[in-house]
Symmetry: none
DNA sequence: TGTCTTGTGTTCGTTTCGTTCATCGACCGG
DNA sequence: CCGGTCGATGAACGAAACGAACACAAGACA
């Protein structure tokens, strides 16, 4: 553990804010150091050519070339660094191509620090096993290795279910201006529960509250996803 | 399901006996057809250039070139076929490189028909989801996709009985949407034990977790065998 | 100002979850 | 034949997540 070298990470993102955020995140995870950053494909490839990178946190949407192209170039050049794809693109086709090119993780933006840390730690564990000069004892060990690299997300809010929270986020993104009662209807839960999740999103700054006047009775509280980014 | 085209497989192995055996195996799995076979790297690449291949069952030890080289050449040429690495090489370094090049599975020789079938079925499920022109609803869906592709074989129990596990798998396949309590009832075990087996299946990517809101009280956790549609 | 109408916010009981720990049997060396 | 270790199990016990119910809030309208 303490004897192994830190994993050197290159952060690539064209949005300066996101780039800084990711750098700060990586710095907070023990065992990882930020080797550098780049805001476009050309700079990223140039930095990679200089060596000293073990892992790339790679945004797919870059101004000059698509992230998938960078991966292809890297692999063709036998560059040994692994790649975690970071993107807001939800097209499954992109996921498929990225997997086919050998990415070790696929992270959807925006993600929390907890999520990134968990993925980095998984990768560190995988890397430590796999770089040892030993042989696998059998199929089971190989399976375990790959499964550990690609496990599910134990994202942990408080008092609510992670999966339901994600459904709420998706609905909020899709339909702007959602009231607690409407969400309850679409979710199959009670209004109380729907409200709990929405308030959580407001608390964490992911959503905003608003009022909708409808001519009669008490106004409805409408929730909105905060800026598509 | 029935409307989708079969997945065309190229079998590559220099040992004629093993090659024939793998061909016979693939033929026995519904939804897959053998597009051709090759006994060396040159023949494999030539066949691939002709198109009509979705998946390559690729032995790593070939007389002319190493399997990893074939994968690199394929990916550099943007060949869309996916690769399942088949090898008797247990060096973890080879595993790591192969994963880095984007293989979808890593199978150690010799393997049983049941093992290959299970991996092929996982790949078919992954492929069906990923080739649909839809977008992922969130990180959880992406994670489940990757976990299902790379998960360990469910037949690798740790702290549980293979026999019981098989019963659980059968029940889960038969009845979609099973809760831990329901399984416990049908199995004659306690809820705790039933839950242990179901969680194991989720860990290995063979099943997925879902929540069922039932009008009152805490929602129940519903488990599903993967590939619902 | 008072009333009506609609929706909000919170309390509290209900149902299920997830975990801990003792138990029971199987296997094993002596 | 006996004591010991190990592996799988389930009873029991907080804690978690939900929704029915209810009191109150906020606007419209007279």
């Amino acid at each position: 553990m303490s004897g192994s070298n830190p994993i050197r990470v290159l952060v690539v993102d064209d949005d300066p804010l996101a780039c800084e955020a990711h750098i700060a995140y990586v710095r907070r995870v023990p065992g990882f150091v930020v080797a550098g950053s780049a805001s476009n494909a050309a700079a990223a490839l140039k930095f990679l050519a200089g060596g000293g990178v073990d892992l790339v946190l790679l945004d797919m949407n870059l101004p000059d070339r698509h992230g998938l192209e960078i991966i292809r170039t890297m692999k063709a050049a036998r560059h040994p660094a692994d790649v975690i794809a970071v993107t807001s693109a939800r097209e499954l086709e992109t996921v498929r191509t990225a997997v086919s090119q050998g990415i070790v993780q696929y992270l959807l933006k925006p993600f929390s620090f907890a999520t990134l840390r968990e993925r980095l730690e998984r990768y560190a564990s995988y890397r430590q096993t796999v770089t040892a000069p030993t042989a696998a004892s059998g199929q089971a060990e190989v399976d375990q290795l790959l499964a550990g690299l690609r496990g599910a997300s134990p994202a942990a809010p408080a008092g609510l279910l992670p999966q339901t929270l994600e459904s709420v986020v998706n609905l909020l993104r899709e339909l702007t201006d959602l009231s607690a009662a409407e969400l309850a209807d679409r979710l199959g839960t009670s209004r109380v529960t729907a409200r709990r999740y929405l308030e959580h999103l407001v608390d964490t700054g992911a959503a905003t509250r608003d009022h909708r006047y409808q001519g009669t009775g008490r106004p409805v509280v409408a929730y909105r996803w905060r800026s598509p980014g």
